[in-house]
């Protein structure tokens, strides 16, 4: 696991502390629908106060896993424990979890206030207490002046906050959020992300967020579980997942990446040397991986970690040559499409430190691509 590579010791990383007791334990959970395996032997430990994201493309099983935590689906095999209690046979209405639905699922015939109060009413909380807690939570999500409105009289962003308030008001042990920001436009989504983190921080509730948006997962999460075809591909902090993806799929899914196929030439504890015909040269990586020389590997290299130069740089490794085939100007940075001498096209991003008028590299320029030995990641195929 990637977590073993980096060991920043602090109280905020209970997953690195062998003494810490996980709050939610998912043990070998499998869910099959007929012949289709939606969730395949997933085991996860999630700690109190975490904001954990389940990230993956559509059909990867992330929502099914969430629905099993809420109790809407029963695992075919495996166990789920919340705060030490086995959830098998416990129906949704008796679980210490609340869910924020992707469609929000607000009751259309009730006002905002009634929607939020619904959960407390089911628990037989006294009217005065309900009133107080609803008012508090509406204050928190800044909806106080909309309390008497019906859902259809609200904007998408407001509805999303009602759904959040409704799931938070019972102060569940675990809050499950299914694509919570999916229906919002980009600006609102960014603002809401920080609001969500703020609220989570203040209430200290454990969140599990399902999302297909890697940017959202990176911003929000303490840790991310990347899912693929029903399995957990990697679990780690956003930084670990981005910098040390442990397989091709994760590297490709999180952010943008260039992948080169290659063969290991030297494999020492301190470094590896990989020869890649696809890259058109040798790649030197300053951290070792354990494998035999001659083994086939993938080298993942992030576009922003490559330096472009028009000079014809000569160095024995970590230096590729190519021709600029396209430039996409994004404002703060530019994306260059480079055709390497081997014929492979790769992406390189460069900060636009100068104004575009002074842009040095142009279409069809011949360029040298260099990168630090720390930048590439070798992935065993």
């Amino acid at each position: 696991m990637a977590a073993e590579k980096q060991k920043p010791q602090s109280t905020h990383t209970p997953w690195n502390d062998p003494q810490a007791v996980p709050y939610i334990r998912i043990e070998n959970v499998t869910k099959r629908f007929g012949d289709f395996t939606a969730v395949d032997n997933v085991s996860l430990n999630i700690y109190r106060g975490e904001l954990f994201s389940l990230l993956g493309g559509s059909g990867c099983g992330k929502t099914t896993l969430l629905r099993m935590l809420a109790g809407f689906e029963t695992p075919t095999t495996g166990k789920i424990y919340i705060d030490g209690v086995d959830m098998a046979g416990i129906p949704p209405y008796e679980r210490p979890t609340n869910m924020m639905f992707q469609s929000y699922a607000l009751f259309p015939h009730m006002t905002v206030e009634q929607n939020v109060a619904f959960g407390l009413k089911q628990d037989g909380v006294k009217d005065a207490e309900i009133k107080k807690r609803v008012a508090e939570i509406l204050e928190l999500v800044k909806l106080t002046q909309f309390a008497k409105r019906k859902p259809h009289q609200l904007s998408g962003g407001q509805r999303q906050r009602v759904a959040l308030a409704r799931s938070l008001v019972k102060q569940p042990k675990l809050l499950l959020l299914d694509e919570p920001l999916g229906a919002l436009d980009k600006k609102l989504r960014e603002a809401t992300q920080f609001e969500l983190m703020n609220i989570q921080d203040r209430l200290g509730i454990t969140f599990i967020v399902v999302t297909h948006d890697q940017e959202e997962a990176m911003t929000l999460s303490t840790r991310i579980g990347v899912m693929n075809a029903g399995e957990i591909a990697q679990v780690g902090t956003p930084q670990e997942i981005y910098e040390y993806p442990n397989n091709e799929m994760v590297a490709d899914f999180i952010g943008s990446v260039n992948l080169f196929e290659g063969k290991i030439v030297e494999d020492e504890p301190g470094h590896v040397l990989i020869n890649s015909a696809e890259a058109g040269g040798d790649i030197y990586i300053d951290h070792g991986i354990s494998s035999a020389p001659g083994a086939k590997v993938w080298v993942a290299l992030r576009p922003e970690k490559i330096h472009l130069s028009k000079e014809d740089i000569q160095q024995p490794n970590n230096c590729l040559k190519g021709v600029v085939k396209g430039i996409a100007y994004m404002g703060n940075l530019s994306i260059y499409l480079i055709q390497l001498d081997s014929g492979k096209q790769i992406k390189v991003t460069q900060q636009n430190q100068l104004r575009s008028a002074e842009q040095l590299i142009d279409w069809d320029d011949r360029v040298s691509l260099t990168f630090h030995p720390n930048s590439p990641v070798a992935l065993l195929g």
């Binding site: 809407f72 949704p92 639905f101 699922a105 015939h109 619904f118 089911q122 019972k170």
Partner: protein
């Protein structure tokens, strides 16, 4: 389109502008219709309105007129307003009788009572059926829907007649029960209120099921999950969410059953006994047996007013509610 607010075409309204834009050529007829304020869309709507005016509104006014006339032995058997040279309106004979003679009030109240009970029975039987259909697999759903509609392929009258064969003393049901040995002498079912209820329930059940099914089928099931997630047990969620949200369907179904059931003539006539006095039957007797057209017309007008006015008010209220719910 929104930018050219200075265009003279805008004066005619957005809808008309849209249509004129779609049809750049203006034929002579089209231009004429437009001058009269009739866009193509309005023309299409006009056809059913003309139909309803000719075959509903005009006859309604004829009936209204007859209800104020005097009965005479003539052809047709009522007087005209200006026969004697001055306007003669008769209210005491027709409308007066509706109040003074208990027969009319009683049969009206009885009709309402029987229609109301039938509506409740239809709802109690139809709701679980519609619910089952709406929650069935999509492939099964169409078959079930087909089965509900299937009886319409046979004439309503024939289906009611068939019940006579089933219910009469030497009918199918009694014969089977006696052959099996459950009963020794035939049950008296024909010509009773029981038979009328059975007939109405049987005939009008699809009218209850179809609007309920349409409503329940499009319900967002994640609302029930949300309710369960918030701690609501399934049975309570059924009443607080499912039934509450299907109210428009319940009201639509209830109206489709209740309104025609109040004026029902065929079922009480064929299956009911002499004690089953419903307003439709009274009206028929007034018209054909007594040949008292003014009183029969007054009965018809009274049914209409007593049914339509409260229903129209209720519908308005319901519309507001539905608007709020969506």
């Amino acid at each position: 389109m929104a930018s050219d607010s200075t265009s003279p075409l805008r004066a005619g309204g957005v809808g008309k502008t849209g249509i004129t834009r779609l049809m750049p050529f203006s034929t002579g007829l089209h231009a004429l219709l437009l001058k009269l304020g009739l866009s193509s869309r309005n023309c299409v709507i006009l056809v059913p309105y003309i139909w309803l005016t000719l075959f509903f509104l005009v006859p309604f006014f004829i009936v209204l007129k007859i209800s104020f006339a005097y009965m005479t032995i003539a052809q047709p058997p009522f007087t005209h307003f200006s026969e004697t040279g001055h306007l003669s309106l008769n209210i005491s004979d027709s409308y007066g009788r509706l109040i003074s003679d208990r027969l009319y009030i009683d049969s009206y109240l009885n009709a309402i009572k029987m229609a109301a009970i039938s509506t409740v029975l239809c709802l109690l039987l139809g709701y679980p059926m519609a619910y089952g259909m709406a929650r069935a697999k999509p492939s099964t759903r169409n078959i079930l829907l087909m089965l509900v509609i299937l009886p319409f392929w046979t004439s309503f009258l024939i289906r009611v007649y068939a019940w006579i064969g089933l219910l009469k003393n030497n009918g199918v049901i009694n014969n089977i029960l006696m052959a099996v040995g459950v009963i020794n002498e035939p049950l008296h079912m024909m010509n009773t209120n029981f038979a009328v209820y059975l007939g109405i329930l049987y005939s009008y059940l699809p009218f209850m099921i179809l609007p309920l099914y349409a409503n329940l089928e499009k319900m967002d099931l994640s609302l029930l999950e949300a309710a369960a997630d918030l701690g609501c047990k399934p049975l309570k969620a059924f009443f607080v969410i499912t039934v509450r949200l299907s109210l428009p369907g319940i009201v639509a179904g209830a109206m489709l059953v209740f309104i025609p059931a109040v004026g029902e003539y065929v079922i009480p006539e064929l299956l009911g006994g002499p004690s089953t006095q419903m307003i439709g039957r009274t009206l028929y007797n007034e018209f054909f047996s007594n040949r008292d057209w003014p009183t029969a017309s007054a009965v018809a007008i009274a049914i209409l007013i007593l049914l339509v006015v409260p229903l129209a008010i209720f519908q308005r209220y319901q519309d507001k509610q539905m608007e709020a719910a969506e």
